[in-house]
């Protein structure tokens, strides 16, 4: 919502563009079959389109709006998402605008009880977290989408029906000029928490609705505090509640404050009440300067997900498949991972570089990531917004002890920093009993470390990458490797080799999304190629050799 007198898209710092529906010649082919339709041109839909385009696959992107999402919404972008931006060629705009951070401060009744550091070091290419408004996220993705010849975007075009057929889906679309039908072989539903595709197909999100409600407000002020996440427990301004404060670019600050059970949502959203609540928070922060109200909304801490993220030729991606509480900052970040995951898999299948079975791994991998978030964020929710007497009593006890005892403050440390592991996926090969003494396992993200003048991940190719550690293996692989697979030779004496816990004849295979697909302590080049068939669900590499 915006203050009285300002239009929905009248921001203090961002100029919303206006997008027309397809016009003139662009309407000639509206009803032509599209190989992939993406519903929703939000951050997730655009990421999916770019991920498909990276594989050379065309898509048509539909959105019922005429501009980006109103308000800032999601603001915390995790390190893992920056790797996705980088693979899509858009990371530089994000790095330039966003504010990286590593530190969080928690206060109990005005006294600092915890200072936490997220894992970071000079070995890491990206910071663990960056703050940036969602409008900029959408703008930077749009800058890439709008110039990509493989992506056609149709704004002001609403999907009003979908029918599943054997080899395609029929979609009914309404735009300002007409209602028309088009067919598509594959559909990615990136249409958000209120997904209409989900409703049309009769699927429901399942899970828990927590009682905790937060008002999220963006204000503009010249406040002299570094980019550190602040959590205020039981502050003067909101006794019994919790307040979160984040810095964003352009002097915009995000304030999330918890509503107590007696506060009605509708009343809490009243502009005067929002202004009073913000003033009270600022008083606790000892900020006495002026400030302007930018935008606000309300959020409930829900954990809801679909049982299956796939229905035949339709994949659910992002919020259409799962809704998570805000504390874990995993809503948008998991959405990016969903989009990148289905993007490369569908691309590889459509290019006949992988068998269709690869697509079956999308839902288990990404639903698994959601369930992992639920586990961690329900723990966070129970601490941040305890809804029972026992949990509230223990929370208050921990916070009270934390003033003097460090261990109790650690209980307030939000758990949000470990990327999910695809350890049980069909799209990886589990360790055999070859006894790696350490190093990352299949299903984990390839860890980062500096190597030569850059980073380990810089060495990865666009498709699968084989990391090997002696010249003979590398040379032989180069002779027999199928197209689309990169071979990287790493010095056995390097720190990277130590991190990977490898020997002379070891090898790692890394997937296009940076996850480790398989590893062997001792393997021949010929066997590596055989194993690659398994990973791509091919009986043999049917596509062209180099």
């Amino acid at each position: 919502m915006r203050p009285a007198g300002r239009a929905q898209n009248e921001s203090l710092y961002f100029n919303y563009p206006f997008f027309s529906a397809p016009q003139g010649k662009k309407r000639d082919h509206l009803t032509s079959n599209a190989q992939v339709v993406i519903v929703g041109a939000g951050p997730i839909g655009m990421t999916a389109a770019l991920a498909l385009a990276r594989e050379g696959v065309k898509s048509v992107l539909f959105d019922n709006k005429s501009t980006f999402n109103d308000g800032s919404r999601a603001i915390c972008v995790a390190r893992s998402s920056f790797y996705i931006f980088e693979s899509l060629g858009v990371s530089s705009a994000f790095l330039e605008k966003s504010l990286g951070w590593t530190t969080g401060h928690s206060f109990y009744r005005g006294q600092k009880i915890l200072e936490f550091q997220m894992p970071d070091s000079s070995e890491e290419k990206f910071r663990p977290m960056y703050n940036i408004q969602q409008q900029y996220i959408e703008k930077f993705l749009w800058d890439a989408v709008s110039v990509n010849p493989l992506i056609e975007t149709r704004w002001q075009s609403e999907i009003i029906g979908i029918k599943k057929k054997k080899n395609e889906c029929t979609l009914r679309i309404k735009d300002p000029e007409e209602i028309y039908e088009t067919s598509s072989n594959w559909v990615l539903a990136c249409d958000g928490a209120h997904s209409s595709i989900r409703k049309f197909l009769g699927h429901r999100l399942k899970g828990e609705n927590y009682e905790g409600r937060y008002v999220i407000v963006d204000i503009k002020m010249e406040h002299d505090y570094p980019t550190i996440r602040r959590a205020l427990f039981d502050p003067d301004c909101r006794r019994g509640g919790t307040v979160l404060i984040h810095k964003q670019p352009d002097n915009i600050w995000r304030i999330d404050y918890q509503l107590n059970d007696n506060e009605k949502t509708q009343q809490a959203l009243d502009e005067n009440n929002v202004r009073d609540s913000v003033s009270a928070v600022l008083k606790d922060l000892n900020y006495n300067g002026s400030w302007e109200l930018e935008w606000w909304s309300v959020y409930s801490a829900n954990t809801l997900a679909l049982d299956d993220y796939r229905d035949g030729r339709v994949f659910f991606v992002g919020d259409s498949a799962h809704i998570v509480p805000i504390f874990g900052v995993r809503g948008l970040n998991n959405g990016f991972s969903d989009a990148a995951n289905i993007g490369w898999k569908l691309g590889w299948v459509l290019n006949n570089k992988a068998g269709k079975e690869l697509l079956n791994s999308y839902s288990p991998e990404r639903r698994g990531a959601t369930i992992d978030v639920f586990y961690n964020s329900s723990k966070s929710s129970k601490f941040m917004t305890p809804s029972t007497y026992g949990w509230k009593l223990m929370r208050d006890a921990a916070l009270s002890l934390a003033l003097k005892h460090k261990f109790a403050g650690e209980l307030a440390n939000p758990r949000q920093f470990t990327p999910y592991k695809y350890s049980e996926s069909t799209a990886i090969i589990k360790d055999t009993n070859e006894n790696f003494l350490g190093g990352p396992k299949p299903g984990e993200l390839l860890p980062e470390i500096t190597i030569d003048a850059g980073y380990l991940t810089d060495l990865l190719g666009e498709g699968f990458t084989i990391l090997c550690f002696n010249k003979d293996t590398s040379k032989k692989l180069d002779e027999i490797i199928p197209d689309g697979i990169s071979v990287v030779l790493i010095d056995l004496l390097s720190r990277a080799s130590k991190l990977l816990s490898v020997e002379n004849k070891s090898a790692y295979i890394v997937r296009p999304d940076g996850y480790i697909a398989a590893r062997w302590k001792n393997i021949t080049p010929e066997k590596i190629i055989q194993e690659l068939y398994k990973l791509t669900f091919k009986t043999e590499m049917s596509h062209d050799r180099k």
Binding site: K379, K382, P386, T388, Y389, G390, W391, L393, M394, R395, A398, S400, L401, L403, K404, H405, F407, E410, L411, N413
Partner: protein, 59 residues
């Protein structure tokens, strides 16, 4: 005690209080304190903990 262990204990106590209900919470917590204190040889440590727990109780 590691962070994870204290978390397990924290959650177990919270759940137990909820199972017993608010009325019985005080007696339960007093009994738990005695059970745990009985396992600690160093009486001065327990007495210090009693003082520490009594700090910042103003609501």
């Amino acid at each position: 005690m590691t962070e994870n262990k204290i978390e397990i204990v924290y959650e177990a106590i919270a759940d137990k209080i909820d199972n017993l209900g608010e009325e019985k919470a005080k007696l339960f917590l007093a009994k738990l304190s005695l059970l745990l204190a009985n396992k600690i040889e160093d009486t001065s440590f327990v007495l210090n903990a009693i003082d520490d727990a009594a700090l910042s109780l103003n609501q």
